[in-house]
């Protein structure tokens, strides 16, 4: 899964490059060339030219609203103060307790909050 260049990726890139240029030229033709000229060429099945202006406006408003929406979704998914998700989670509940070995570094584990509090706030004499 390295980002190194490959022959297939070069082909995909070039196809996307040509496709996006084609799409852009087609959009400009649709937006600027009068309908009568397009009809005289025989191309009659186009969407209304109203959309050539409306779609970019919709897109930009959606991007602006997306900032506000993302902020709101983040605030809504923050756990409230009375939820147990602030204390523990599924991984911590199901963790295995490894036995304590002398002169070995203790295994990594999620320490329960009561123990952490005692260590921080109750100084042992």
């Amino acid at each position: 899964n390295s980002p190194a260049p490959l022959p297939e990726r070069a082909i995909y890139g070039f196809a996307l490059f040509l496709g996006s240029w084609f799409g852009f030229i087609l959009y400009l033709i649709w937006a600027y060339i009068p309908e009568t000229w397009l009809f005289s060429l025989g191309l009659t099945y186009w969407p209304q030219k109203y959309w050539a202006v409306a779609l970019p406006v919709y897109l930009l408003v959606a991007v602006g609203l997306g900032y506000i929406l993302l902020f709101g979704i983040n605030m809504m998914s923050t756990a409230p103060l009375n939820s147990t998700h602030n204390i523990t989670d599924n991984f911590a509940k199901k963790q295995q307790q490894k036995k304590f070995q002398e002169e070995a570094i203790p295994a990594l584990r999620d320490i329960p909050i009561s123990e952490v509090n005692r260590m921080f706030f109750l100084p042992e004499k």
């Binding site: 923050t78 103060l81 147990t84 204390i87 523990t88 509940k93 909050i113 005692r118 921080f120």
Partner: protein, 186 residues
């Protein structure tokens, strides 16, 4: 014996902690928030009345003025009775349980009692709250099936939100009483 010490809340407002020891296994800790200030009350009232006067000048309808007076009065009563908490207190009785009381500015008191069998521990936790990380004291309730698990978290001092120095004092006081039940059961 009651001593009162001054601290600050999470937003910087001055609060006072009062600790009273009723007996060897009973303690009452009360956090008193700042009273309703006259300048904020008059600022809010003047803002509402100025806005109403502006609306009246635009619309020439005198009902706007009486509606503004009504809104101010009703809003003040609702604020004092449902929103503004003057004092929150924690009464820890060693063998019985923990009682949490909130007194509102209008004199209303709302109380919750948690019996000692349900209390697993009282801890200081930090959590994200409205674009800030705050420390808050909470009671962990025991899960009846799982002795190591926590079934519910009851946050305390929600409206006065003391800072860590005040919380450490309350935590030490509570732990002294909660330790007694461990030695008592052994």
């Amino acid at each position: 014996m009651a001593e009162e010490r001054r601290f600050r809340s999470a937003s910087g407002a001055p609060i006072a902690l009062r600790c009273r020891q009723h007996s060897a296994s009973c303690r009452e800790l009360a956090v008193r928030g700042p009273r309703l200030q006259l300048r904020s009350l008059s600022a809010a009232t003047s803002a509402v009345w100025l806005a109403a006067y502006g609306l009246f000048a635009l619309s020439e309808n005198s009902m706007v003025l009486s509606a503004a007076i009504f809104i101010t009065l009703i809003g003040l009563i609702i604020y004092l009775h449902f929103v503004k908490i003057d004092q929150e207190s924690l009464l820890v009785i060693g063998s019985l349980g923990i009682q949490v009381t909130s007194s509102y500015a209008s004199g209303k008191e709302s109380t919750t009692f948690i019996e000692m069998g349900q209390v697993k521990d009282v801890v200081i936790n930090e959590a994200i709250h409205m674009q800030k990380v705050i420390y808050y004291l909470c009671i962990l309730l025991q899960d009846p099936e799982d002795p190591q698990g926590v079934s519910e978290v009851v946050p305390l001092f929600q409206s006065s939100k003391p800072r860590l120095d005040c919380l450490i004092e309350v935590y030490k006081s509570c732990q002294e009483i909660l330790e007694q039940r461990k030695t008592a059961s052994q």
